[in-house]
């Protein structure tokens, strides 16, 4: 192929030789200029003292660290302008940090001021091995193959390959118990289910006290949990809490839209939604009282609680699941059922056709 170039230069230049390639000749290394410490003995003495001082401070600071470790009480406090810190932590860090720093500065100063600073030249060799090495390897490897008899007895090679491939199988299969398998049945009893059930009271998040509709004012938001969460402990508690957390809000019924299918999910203007974001599962918490918008502080997905929790902004794709509620005989808010769709972030097997969409009835 012709090597015509756009600006009339010859073809790609391969630079291995240094002379011809350069339009300006290499003037060679610049002359070594002595430093002040090379020519002035006093300057050299001064640099020596500086290095020795840096090194000399290290034992003092190290001992200081030990003294601080044993002498300074843990509750002593430094309150000095912008610096407010635990005294012991601060002093331990200052003594140890400065000791390290001075040791390092001393060493670098020594190298820069006193050690010979004449530049030296090393010559490079190609990264590739020599022809002799390559030839030796090729001929010897050829012999190796011959000596192993693998080319004559092909069945050995084939079975060896099969053996090596399958020996990995136990190692991979051995990991199959990393966790339970999310089969349809397993999903139905884990990520597709919460501990909400008909009659479970909605209680306050922290005090676990049940809530009456008349306790909630218009515009108020309450963080809620199912009353039966209190019976759980440890991991089970965390797992269920991560799915069952809800928010109860009261809005002016005249300013919100409740679709016909959800008329009996609310008590007047009191509605209950999952608190778990449908994006990646953060607990949503920022409530805009006037607009009825609920904003997730993690990624700013915004849901309209006055409109069945549909997404109005942000990366979340699905409406917040709504929990159907009513009141029990004593007048406390209870769930009418579990959520009608799985709460939390999306997953591949999730049937998202039943989620509420803008315009649904």
């Amino acid at each position: 192929m012709s090597d015509d170039t756009a600006h009339g230069q010859p073809g790609t230049e391969v630079a291995t030789v240094d002379e011809e390639r350069y339009p300006v000749p290499d003037p060679g290394l610049e002359e070594h200029l002595p430093r002040l410490t090379d020519v002035d003995e006093k300057a050299a003495d001064r640099a020596t003292r500086q290095v020795a001082t840096f090194f000399g401070l290290v034992p003092i600071l190290s001992i200081g660290f030990v003294v601080v470790y044993f002498a300074v009480p843990g509750d002593a406090w430094v309150d000095f302008g912008p610096l407010q810190a635990n005294s012991r932590n601060l002093l331990l860090g200052l003594t140890f940090g400065l000791a390290l720093l001075f040791l390092g500065i001393g060493a670098v100063h020594w190298a820069r001021k006193l050690m010979d600073d004449e530049e030296k030249i090393d010559y490079r060799h190609s990264a590739a091995s020599s022809e002799a090495d390559k030839n030796y390897m090729l001929t010897e490897l050829d012999k190796v193959v011959d000596e192993s008899k693998i080319t004559r007895r092909k069945i050995i090679g084939r079975t060896l390959l099969a053996a090596l491939a399958t020996i990995l199988l136990p190692m991979i299969v051995g990991l199959a118990d990393l966790g339970p398998w999310p089969t349809k049945k397993k999903r139905a009893e884990t990520i597709e289910k919460t501990i909400w059930a008909p009659g479970v009271r909605v209680v306050q998040d922290i005090t676990f006290t049940p809530i009456k509709p008349e306790d909630i004012e218009i515009g108020q938001l309450i963080n809620g949990e199912p009353a039966n969460l209190q019976e759980l402990e440890g991991a089970e508690f965390q797992i269920e809490k991560a799915k069952a957390a809800v928010i109860v809000v009261r809005m002016d019924p005249n300013t919100i839209t409740i679709p016909p299918s959800r008329q009996d999910w609310a008590i007047g203007g009191i509605l209950c939604y999952s608190k778990i974001c449908t994006h990646v599962g953060c607990p949503i918490s920022l409530w805009e009282q006037q607009t009825h918008h609920l904003l997730c502080p993690c990624h700013q997905s915004t849901f309209d609680l006055g409109n069945s929790g549909v997404v109005v902004f942000g990366p979340a794709a699905r409406a917040l699941p709504q929990l159907p509620i009513t009141t029990d005989a004593e007048g406390y808010i209870i769930a009418r059922s579990d959520f009608t769709v799985p709460v939390g972030p999306s997953y591949f097997e999730r049937d998202s056709r039943n989620d509420f969409k803008e315009g649904d009835n």
């Binding site: 015509d4 073809g11 339009p23 843990g74 720093l101 490079r124 990264a127 993690c298 990366p315 997953y347």
Partner: protein, 575 residues
Amino acid sequence: MAEPAATVNDETAVQAQTPKKELGPVFKAAAGPTKWLDDRLGIAGLGRPFLRKVFPDHWSFLLGEIALYSFIVLILSGIFLTIWFKPSMAEIEYEGSYELLRGLHMSEAYASTLDISFDIRGGLLLRQMHHWAAAVFVAAMLTHSLRIFFTGAFRKPREINWLIGVAMLTLGIINGFTGYSLPDDLLSGTGLRFVDGLIRAIPVIGTWAEFFVFAGEFPGELIIPRLYMVHILLVPALLLGLIAVHLALVVYHKHTQYPGAGRVQGNVVGYPVFPVYAAKAGGFFLIVFGVLTLMGAVMQINPVWVFGPYNPAEVTAGSQPDWYMGFVEGGIRIMPNWEWHIGSTTWSWNVAIPGLGLMGLFFGLMAIYPFVEAWVTGDKSEHHLLDRPRNNPTRTAFGVAAMTGYAMLWIGGGNDLVATQFDVSLNAVTYFLRVAVFVAPVIAFLVTKRICIGLQHADRDRMLHGAESGVIDRAPSGKYSERHRPISAAQAFTLTQHEDIPALLPATDTDGYSEKEIRREQLRRKATRFFFIDTLRRPTRAEIEEAEHHHLHPMIIGDGEHHAIEAEEEHHLAK
């Protein structure tokens, strides 16, 4: 004044002639043990290539060193932390000395983190050092990779070391994430919740991956012990192995160097490992260690006791991951809410694309770039001389474009803080970034390329007209002109050491090549035109001679020629 350089040389010469020099007292004392070791290990032979090995000196070479040293600090402080940290999600009642949380139920992981912070002397210092060292480690790796990229140090024969670097950067980020998830405080739990959502969003296998990683549903009780294993064993072991290979390759290839007088492809100019680099690098390690310690002492980081134990129903506004996860966080935040609902399946592109695709794209582009550039240039030669970024404007522009895209995502990671701090609409910030993340890199590309070419013009002017002197002359005719001074031979050589890579016209003589080969070659040639067509070529020898002729005096001078030049200049002006 004496000439010390010459004296040193003479001494060396004398030593070479008299090998049996009387040894100093240090050597006499060490003779016994070193002989014992040498008889068994052959240490003299092992050490011989390294003792006086030459490394070049430049501040930008310290970035990789900072990464290495902060990794060592991470290991040292990490060992200290493992002595007390309990990687357990078992629920206990806190009875330590931090009164505000006493009596609260929390995981053992969180409680032991509080113990390290409040009840172990120096524990808080080490915790903060460890966290700072992690932030510095990733930052140093990233800036080190930028230095490598912009100077073209990834070119043959160093492509493998570049890939190892990309792998280490990935592992560093992963380990940072696993590390800050361990204390099981509210912020780290929120981070884990995010990862749970991310894993779930993987098309087809997401739910399985989630159940396998978390041993069931989020959060379960195994994720912290598992992350602990990854954090203190798996990833550090991989990193250690990769670091060993990375450094071994630096030694084998010898370090690259910047262009300059006497510095050419075939050599490396610098100082020997012993004594200069032993002191400088050893000292620099201690400086990095010392600075990280001081940071741990005076700069608070990750005060987990303020956040409280993890509670899946709570989160605070302004939650941010550590800085190196910021670009992923930003991608997640500014992504439009695209999700497919096909039949009974959900394809969560709003999470999968920015969460997983972005990291894949970022590291994938980094990994393939050296091979793309090598294919475009068709260059199979070794490169040991670094490029000045201006001399490869397209590469530099790609790098700055990538940095700009990264910056847009990173800003996105704090879109709420941008909104509150600058009093602008959160929605506006987000909509702006959705566009900016694509547009800003293109603008950055174009601007950077023009700046590079402008700098190349400046170099060319310097070569052909000399350096601007700042002295303005007025000719008898009233014309003003600036005097230019010749530049030194060393600088002239530095400015012309790079290679001109040609932009190739489409091939016309295609006989004897297959359709496929022709298509590939034409594509490659098109790529060379994209890369190099507007790159300024360096002046040729003829052009430099022509310029010298035109100016009636050499444009380049060696030392000691100043007087002659000045005299000539006077003469020229007098005319």
